[in-house]
Symmetry: C2
Subunit: 284 residues, 2 copies
């Protein structure tokens, strides 16, 4: 069992992982090897003190280098469910189970609450993990929602299995192409069905029959991720120590609210790591 | 009248000043041209994300360069009193009066509460400003407490005016020397006197008769600086937006509490700047 699990590879997650490691805690860090999509795509950053004016890509590179220099390698799996136990937390990531005494949610700003019906049909036609559940849809018709370019290879993988893929990209210039791939020009708003999901409804009113829907996003909405987590509006409610309402569960960065700023995220990750170390010391 | 006054040249103050300027606010920034003494003296810093492992001196240099690149030049005066007015705040710094609609206290960790009797004799034998009050002690005997090396030139200036100086340095390797300078090996614990201060009492029990005491420190204790400011223990009480109990008055960095970390200070300065900009927008 790890001392701490950090969910999120952006500035808040990195800052927390770095500090937890320096505080001699065993850290399980979930994130993309590419760092933060959001930082990467920032054209210019002028307010990260000490680095002057630089591109987001440059800052993201520096963040990755910092992690690498400290031998911190993020586990590139998406955490889809976290359950509190007597000993701490169990985390489900791409169908693997992990355990940690404390957790930090650094999952970024929640830009989507999920589609109508999505939570209801999760596990019954809706999946968050292409490599876990893709085989179930061999030769079938599926819809795939891509939240970020980093999931394009998963969409390509699914297109290799399914007979037909309706692909919906939540960003510009999606590069996935294929003979069995169709990209409707209206986004998904709803999942519908009976006992199982059997169609996606688009904003323009069209209903497309599918056998399943894959939602490939950077993060699951926090309240779906951790049952019982208290929110403040769409953000995770935290105190000045970045504590949530659940003992041992902390949050940092954009998921705790505005301003959505890199320096704020880094600062909150730092605070959370110190609070988690204090929590672990008390818990012994 | 400035939109915002930032008191403190360390990481929190820098972060706030940078953000306020980017948010198109007029900023009056008080700090040392040398940046942060505390950062400068850190041997190695490993947890400022994006910069890997570096010395405090190197990070402090980068902070100064960032400010310079944004044409942010700190006013090297010590703010000793702040009063709230109908329009905002009046700030007294080395006997100059400044005005701002909002203020940020980024004064660092309070390591000293001041000596016993210090607040009582302020203006009656106790001074915080060598260049303001030095002339009052021409040919007299004074005690000088130095909180940091950056005030050594002020001690030298006072030694040029006074007949005799008892010098007490709150740090190692004080470089000030002079024929009329004596450095007792026990620190000041108390200021005593009648209507005016007339002696300093040392920890070893000695009482040294003096005409005045200069306390040259990086910061005045927050509660002395801003009358009515609510504290939480020795720290300034703030909410998640870095708001204090006084409208328009914000705080960030070590003065708001632990962990005393650079990333935390930078993050809080960022949050405070955004909250101040929102406050200024509402106030119009």
């Amino acid at each position: 069992m790890f001392d701490a699990a950090v969910i999120g590879g952006g500035p808040a997650g990195l800052s927390a992982a770095v500090n937890l490691k320096l505080l001699a805690k065993s850290v399980l860090w979930f994130g993309s090897p590419h760092g933060s999509d959001k930082v990467e795509k920032s054209e210019k950053i002028a307010n990260y003190p000490g680095l002057g004016l630089l591109s987001g890509a440059e800052l993201n590179r520096r963040f990755r280098e910092h992690a690498a220099a400290m031998a911190l390698e993020p586990v590139d799996r998406m955490v889809t469910l976290i359950a509190q136990t007597d000993e701490g937390f169990q985390l489900l990531a791409d169908n693997e189970l992990y355990e940690a005494k404390s957790i930090l949610l650094a999952t970024g700003a929640v830009t989507a609450k999920g589609f109508e019906g999505e939570a209801e049909y999760l596990g019954r036609g809706v999946s968050y993990c292409a490599t876990c559940d893709g085989f179930l849809y061999r030769g079938k018709t599926i819809a795939v929602h891509l939240g970020a370019a980093r999931f394009e290879h998963e969409a390509a993988y699914l297109a290799g299995l399914a007979a037909k893929v309706y692909l919906f990209a939540g960003y510009r210039d999606c590069a996935v192409r294929g003979e069995n791939i169709e990209m409707p020009d209206s986004p998904i708003v709803k999942v519908s069905g009976g006992l199982k999901a059997n169609a996606v409804v688009l904003r323009d009113g069209r209903e497309i029959p599918v056998d399943g829907l894959f939602c490939l996003r950077n993060a699951v909405a926090p309240a779906s991720l951790v049952p019982g987590l208290a929110l403040d509006g769409v953000h995770i409610a935290v105190d000045r120590e970045m504590k949530t309402n659940l003992a041992g569960c902390y949050a940092a960065g954009d998921c705790t609210g505005r301003p959505y700023q890199i320096a704020k995220a880094v600062g909150e990750g730092n605070i959370a790591a110190h609070a988690m170390a204090a929590y672990l010391a008390e818990r012994k």
